[in-house]
Symmetry: C2
């Protein structure tokens, strides 16, 4: 835990330079716009602790797999998010000294991520070894309007000298991934160009052959006026720059504007990509920094108008939830169905791949409630487009006849993870992908999606489940052997309740979806079943058999579902019995000890009761919660949110708040001591869920929005905005009452604290508060 960042409702503030935590700050202060982004590093050279990271969405490299011991079925390559050309760099040399905060006295340092307006600002005074003092103010953003561009305003002022200052804005493409398995370089240079104040470089990824053109243009002001300058172009291998030497007077501010673009061959023809970069640069340079920043602020204001959450009376919580919303919006905008939500977004490169089950299980509801319907739809389309690869993936593992197993981690649809207990056995991900279709249709009412895309995915996943179970003669039921559930602190278990349940549920939902699509569009249905050789009668009969006879382990005496068969053989004890100094257990215990202990990384049974809550009564939830919560160590950042939601539902306000706190400031306080690798982007969605589904009680039932909001004890008010179909509503809950404001031009009816309430167009209604007990 670290507490060096200031609490502030709209900004993340580092006051004074915290060298040792610089990589943490860089992660937290990352910028992104869905297409490109990078860490909050310095523009000028910094020889201290830093991890430079600039990323271009959708551009990846298949790094050769590294294993200790090969297991049949492992992928040969592992697609990685690529650290790309550094476009932010501006070297500063003052006579014979390089400005490098690692070798200066630094004062008045302040680095601020402005979340309201979407930019990063940094100012400081540096005293060089020679005694010269300079004041710097740098401002940078990745534009969400011109979403392949970024811009920097870098102002430097000599405080106690006159001198020649050399300013070298550059693009450096000689970049490696810190997590490269064999220290390989992933980029080759294709070409480079320099011109007066401009420089371009085109790089190509090895193997995958993506082209990325990065360009920059520099303009300079002194005394508030644009000036002409002498510029010396520099070209090295994978590096282009302009070296500009200026006479600077004491007290005079020199302002460098650096405009940059990153175009990738995902969107441009490689033959003309440098030309396009040139034109793009010209366009944004003409627009200018101030106009770009103005548009950025406007665009962010529009976003906040749709999805801000206001917490009254707890500034740390306010900051945490805004950080969550800000980062999720920076990571994924839903413009492009080829992109997805990487676990680190644009804030780091660890874990490779861009897509985990996190997207469907945690992130989808956020985008459903805060963005246009097409955003969530594009997340589903992403998987639809990768169905072919999922079928190939299942074939590699011995499945047949169109069965699909989506990969655990992917970039382009191919599996890119290689731990057998995860890659091959954490198959519950397939269930989450089916569930996301259900969740989307339930929320949006867009049944046409089933016709056009959804049913095909559901049938393919159902085929997998039908083949993955086997009939146990000894139980006279279907069993599923050798799986790893969401609780990754158990591996290769038999009859994981969550996985068995979601498998049977998928078969059930597929059966319903078949009926629905048949009714909605018999021609399209006929075309589909012909194309994918769906033998309706036979396959649905098998599905029904499995649904009827699926083994779901439970203990009648305790009245709980068993995480997996045999769970009660463990030495059961609460987390509070773990000796001091041994947590997190994953940093203190060997893997076998974790596996045979009763301790749970994230509780799968509770995850299942969250997904399928309509199918269980509250007493069942309470018994399972009381049984599993005390054994859960929450060493997955995806864990506490579900517990918080469940605790809210059970009226356990304190527990709900405690669980909410576990993720609310995970990265801001570097809770797990790993934020330096990047932020936990997908688990941020969990924080949002804890607030909106937990405290807010958001649900959809029978095509209707359901809310049962309450305000945690130490907050004065909580207000959140959500979209639901054609509506935009704001829910404000205090300790006394709840106000729902309808921004729509039509009256709406919602279920509020178990009662139907109608709110007129563009008006609001307040009722007294009630906590579900």
């Amino acid at each position: 835990m670290k507490h060096y960042l200031q609490h502030d409702p709209w900004n993340i503030v580092e006051e004074g330079f915290h060298r040792d935590f610089n990589e943490v700050t860089e992660s937290v202060m990352s910028l992104g716009n869905g297409r490109l982004g990078g860490r909050g590093s310095f523009e000028e050279k910094y020889s201290g602790k830093t991890m430079l990271g600039n990323y271009v969405a959708g551009v990846y490299y298949p790094d050769k797999t590294r294993v200790g011991w090969w297991k049949n079925g492992y992928p040969q390559y592992f697609a990685k998010v690529l650290n790309a050309a550094n476009w932010i760099g501006i070297d500063i040399d003052i006579e014979y000294e390089t400005l490098d905060l690692n070798h200066c006295e630094v004062r008045d340092f302040r680095r601020v991520l402005n979340m309201e307006e979407g930019y990063l600002e940094r100012s400081f005074v540096a005293r060089l070894k020679s005694g010269k003092e300079v004041q710097v103010n740098a401002k940078r953003f990745c534009s969400i309007v011109d979403d392949e561009a970024g811009a920097i305003r870098y102002a430097i002022k000599p405080l106690n000298f006159d001198a020649k200052i050399t300013i070298t804005p550059y693009i450096d493409g000689d970049i490696r991934n810190r997590d490269a398995n064999y220290d390989e370089t992933f980029w080759d240079e294709v070409r480079k160009e320099t011109a007066y104040g401009e420089a371009y470089i085109e790089l190509r990824t090895r193997k995958t052959g993506f082209h990325v053109a990065t360009g920059m243009c520099v303009s300079i002001e002194q005394d508030g006026l644009s000036i002409d300058y002498q510029s010396q172009p520099i070209k090295y291998e994978k590096y282009v720059a302009n070296r500009i030497t200026l006479d600077c007077r004491q007290g005079q501010e020199t302002v460098v504007y650096k405009y940059a673009v990153n175009l990738s061959s995902l969107n441009y023809d490689p033959d003309t990509i440098i030309k396009e970069a040139h034109q793009y640069i010209q366009r944004i340079t003409r627009k200018g920094f101030d106009k770009m920043l103005f548009e950025q602020k406007q665009a962010w204001a529009d976003k906040w108008k749709m999805n801000d959450i206001v917490i009254d009376g707890d500034i740390a919580a306010q900051q945490g939830i805004r950080f969550t919303i800000f980062q999720l919006n920076q990571t994924y905008t839903g413009e492009d169905e080829r992109l997805n939500i990487g676990p680190k977004g644009f804030t780091g490169e660890k874990y490779g791949g861009s897509t985990y089950w996190d997207t469907e299980a945690y992130c989808l509801p956020f985008y459903l409630s805060t963005a246009d319907q097409k955003v969530a739809r594009n997340l589903l389309i992403y998987r639809y487009k990768q169905l072919g690869k999922a079928i190939e993936n299942a074939q590699k593992l011995g499945f047949r006849a169109g069965a699909a197993l989506y990969p655990m981690v992917t970039m382009n649809g191919e599996e890119c993870h290689n731990e057998w207990e995860i890659t091959f056995e954490e198959i519950h991900r397939n269930g989450a992908i089916a569930y996301a279709i259900y969740d989307y249709v339930r929320y949006t009412g867009d049944e046409q999606y089933l016709v056009d895309y959804g049913l095909e995915v559901l049938i393919s996943i159902s085929r997998f489940w039908s083949q993955r179970v086997n009939w146990s003669k000894s139980k006279e039921q279907y069993v599923m052997l050798g799986v790893t559930g969401p609780n990754e602190y158990e591996n290769n278990v038999n009859n994981n309740w969550y996985t068995n349940y979601i498998a049977a549920w998928t078969l059930r939902y597929t059966t319903e979806a078949v009926a629905k699509v048949k009714a909605l569009n018999p021609e399209k249905y006929a075309e589909l079943i012909d194309r994918i050789h769906f033998r309706e009668e036979k396959e649905l009969a098998t599905a029904r058999q499995i649904i009827d006879k699926m083994y779901l382990p439970q203990d009648d005496q305790l009245g709980v579902f068993l995480q997996q068969e045999g769970f009660l053989d463990k030495d059961l004890m609460p987390v509070s019995d773990i000796p001091k100094g041994q947590r997190p257990i994953n940093q203190h215990w060997s893997w076998d000890r974790i596996l045979r202990s009763c301790f749970i990384k994230q509780a799968d049974v509770l995850q299942g009761l969250y997904f399928f809550e309509d199918e269980f009564d509250v007493d069942t939830l309470r018994r399972n919660f009381d049984f599993y919560e005390p054994m859960t160590v929450h060493e997955s950042s995806l864990s506490p949110c579900v517990h918080s939601i469940q605790a809210s539902k059970l009226g356990m306000k304190e527990k709900a708040y405690e669980m909410y706190l576990r993720t609310a400031r995970l990265d801001l306080d570097d809770y797990n001591n790993d934020t330096e690798d990047g932020c936990h982007i997908t688990s941020m969605a969990g924080t949002w869920l804890a607030v909106v589904k937990g405290f807010g009680g958001l649900r959809v039932e029978d095509e209707k929005l359901v809310l049962s909001p309450y305000c945690p004890d130490n907050w004065q008010a909580l207000a959140f905005k959500i979209r639901f179909r054609d509506m935009l509503v704001q829910v404000t809950t205090t300790q006394r009452d709840v106000t729902v404001q309808n921004f729509s031009t039509m009256p709406i009816t919602i279920n509020l604290h178990d009662k139907d309430v109608t709110i007129k167009a563009e008006s609001q209604k307040t009722i007294s508060s009630k906590v579900t007990a």
Copy 2:
């Protein structure tokens, strides 16, 4: 399967050069003497497929661990058998051409491993590109008399030309392990020296700092007479040689004798090791090649006298069993308690480490019955000396109070394997180490071993088991969760019958051993328990509780023990149902598919019934054999031998023979297509077991030798020699009768086919044959 090697009772013969199989032949024709050894490669340069390998026992390098995903508890380093300086090399240049069989026409090629006398011989005629033809005859051995030396006789004769021939005997220390994780070099040069016809190089391993001095001396004969020659010394980095150019006439044979030594700092002071090498070289050079080879033949004759097995009527089987005995003797001589039996011996470097549970479970009985008692005893002492490391190893995994977990793979007592499901969970190895003590004491009657060493190891292992089980409230029994049994096609299972059984057995045997040692030597006992803080009453009470209440899964209806809990949930089917072309399944199926299938790599339950056969009746064995055998794919080379022994016991002669055949010629026929990596040294002991314990029915009961030999149907006779305490007996069994010859100077009483039979000193007795039904 390959059948290019000739069948011959005493020799392994390659007739004609089989280029594509050269690495297989090199493995099979490896030479060793317990201290050094290497693969059957060529002396002269060979640019084709070859894997050069020369090894010095006990010299290893801790290679940095490579993993895909780190798990807490993995060792940082992984000790590897080191490929050491190449001392066999002799380059031959004929005018401007290098003799390289990869670029010649080769005829009359013949490579023979003479197992009776312990040397490798190779002859051929090569026609160079120029048309020149030379005839070569090379003979090489690793001396078991001068066991740090090897010698080569390399004879070359021009067949159709007179020319200058340049002969360059060399030592090359610029050697890397093919399996190095990061392509690192493990050796540094310390010094090198050359003199007339001599050359020395001293290398040091990085990190571990072992010194190895390798020296050579060359003498040359022409026309049968030793000649003086001009020699040009050559020194490169890590390389020393003497270049000798001779005038050779058509038809004249030039014979090069190369004497070499490898001294290691395990046995010599690094300060004087080069000097020692020099003296050693002088001594053997004075002795001369012919005398050395004569002594070698004598020494091998002595060995064969003690442990030969004669199979009459099946030359392939005869060759197979002699190959087994030959390789086991080449690998381990029991002279040095710091050494052990690597899985590849001196025939390759794969798998790293030198010691697996193979030593205790499979190899020990071979050495017990074929060598002096001290050989087996040294294998036990090896583990005793590593007890401290085993306790540290257990501590790393969270165990306390002197509990010991021996590593899965080791060189110096530290774990050097890193698959969690094996390293942390294949803990049954600890049981095998306890069992070996029992096996040794039972066979030799050496109860003093328990006093001096055995009990301390037993108590430490028992402490591990006592902590590793936990009480299941739901079963009201002790359970053992999260283990991998000998059947590695199941991972992380609960209540593996074999592991639970051997754990309870260890506790039982430890309790008995405590009583025995107390009775034999109360002072030593008191000293021991004080030193290791053994709280006798408390620890034995715990042990008794666990023995009484250990859960051992079984199915009463089928009357079988269950490999692990839940085994009957699997889709049970015989191996014969696996579709054609999908075997071995480990090359065709993904790991998860293997795990959830019913197919067994090696059957743990049958292994347990083999170890503890006195505790089960034959009907129990038969039911379990009939249940498990059909599901066993025998994809471990350690598997078939146990099935063969059990089948023999059950009177299933055909099955016993079928299983015997699976290992009998494993490497000679390259059964699994992997002999090129080296021979399966430890599983060779299994072949011997199948013959002596299976066909021979060798057991020890109540201090008495028990035999119930029979002769497989297609053999005319089987004769094997064994030692038992003071006796040396030969058992000869034909289809009609059994003859036991007593070579001892005392009468002996043995149990032969369930009857006590006394045989007078130095005489024999024949009884009519009977097969146990």
